[in-house]
Subunit: 266 residues, 2 copies
């Protein structure tokens, strides 16, 4: 069913804008918004439930097969003017394709992660572009299971969704509200726990054998790294040796090198 | 010598703005602009020539030792109001410290790179944030020599300078206007040439021994990769194996993994 939407004042428009801008509103409504032909098609292919689909006439011309695919799966579709699309779009050059989706269940149940092989845990990652890049990298390197602490930036943030190239839909992402319990669980179940730290007294990452049984690597906040408590609970500290005056890698790069090492020999 | 600068109309203000915004103007004047306590201090420590130094009273209070250091080395210094600083600053929350510097000589002379060990060559990198991150990563991993093609984004672009964390000042960066001649030079001098490509039929990067003599790795544009001509001139193609539906890494991440492999066993 396609509805012609002509007024900016329609409550659904305000609803979309609120979803784009507010994490707490997304959480309450259990909905999120995605944009662009590729990302929306990705969502359909990953069986994300499309509640509302908004598209322009131009998009129907330019991305015919994508629009027709989404029309098949969307519960309700709206044909909108360029002006309305612009008012709800979060990007500079909108492709005229936008979906309102139902959230996936990402709450952590420990029994769901019992078959751990290699898992990466992010603590308090704040920057949506960083998190998006990290998730995209995880998928490309074949790390399929990711755990995030509850205070990480929201995976349904538009920048995370875009930066991840849709990996948010395909990865097994769990959100945990009790990181300490998780580390205890890993330690008790012979899953090795590694804390990534910028500390030259730690084990150099190339000296760790990640294929010696299941393991979890913990990666911390961009500015402050892992919390002291987290580091102390992990069984080992590992580090990337660094040179130069800056002696620093940006968070997404450091994480990428760690994930690369994790799968490198596997 | 410190001058009180009170008018937005002073020609030096317009000169600074033009340097920030125009690559061709930077090139013509052989000058560039940097901002922030850390980056400006880095420039001084790297013997970059500071022609003009602009600072606010607040900066003098908050970053006393940095401001005093720059005052010693700057040819001419200007104490400016918050309003003037805001008008010339390129960042959201200016620290009130800005320097106009002389460009370093980065033109490629082949005799300057005769002692090649491991070198990375960037072809047509367009995004300043990517280039900044790549240079920062190169320094942190201990790759000290970088060659850029002339059509790469300008290393004196404010975003590159910031993103590189000052690595632009410390790395040996050469700009080449004849990439083909360079590859021939490498090939003729027993410097192995590797083209990085997203092609699963190429040598997997972990199977390359980068410690078997000097080598140069060529990395291409974010969207289009290396030019066909470049790939064909290189002696080998190498690739990062990728999984998942997106099968893609962002340019800075892919480059970081390549540079990591380059130094990993060294």
């Amino acid at each position: 069913m396609v509805v012609q939407l002509k007024s900016h004042e329609n409550p659904i428009i305000k609803h979309v804008l609120k979803l784009i801008n507010s994490k707490s509103f997304r959480k309450r409504e259990k909905e999120f918004v995605i944009e662009g032909a590729r990302l929306c098609e990705n969502a359909v292919m990953s069986c994300v439930k499309i509640k509302n689909f908004f598209y322009t006439e131009k998009a129907l011309e330019r991305y015919k097969s994508t629009v027709e695919l989404i029309l098949k799966f969307a519960e309700k579709s709206y044909s909108v003017s360029e002006g309305i699309m612009e008012s709800i779009s979060d990007v500079k050059n909108s492709q005229g394709i936008l979906c309102l989706c139902s959230m996936l269940d990402k709450q952590l149940c420990l029994d769901k992660i019992s078959n751990v092989d290699k898992i990466v845990v992010f603590e308090s990652i704040q920057d949506p572009s960083n998190l998006g890049t990290m998730l995209r990298t995880a998928e490309a390197l074949g790390i399929n299971e990711i755990i995030l602490t509850q205070d990480c930036c929201d995976i349904y943030n538009p920048k995370v969704l875009r930066g991840s190239m849709g990996a948010v839909f395909r990865l097994l992402i769990h959100i945990t509200c009790d990181l300490q319990a998780l580390i205890h669980y890993f330690n008790d179940n012979e899953i090795k726990t590694y804390a990534a730290v910028p500390d030259n007294n730690s084990v150099i990452i190339t000296n760790v054998d990640f294929n010696d049984g299941p393991c979890a690597v913990f990666i911390g906040n961009e500015g402050n790294g892992l919390k002291e408590k987290t580091i102390n609970l992990c069984s080992k500290k590992l580090t990337i040796p660094m040179k130069g005056r800056a002696e620093s890698l940006n968070a997404a790069v450091a994480t990428s090198i760690i994930m690369w090492e994790l799968i490198r020999g596997g």
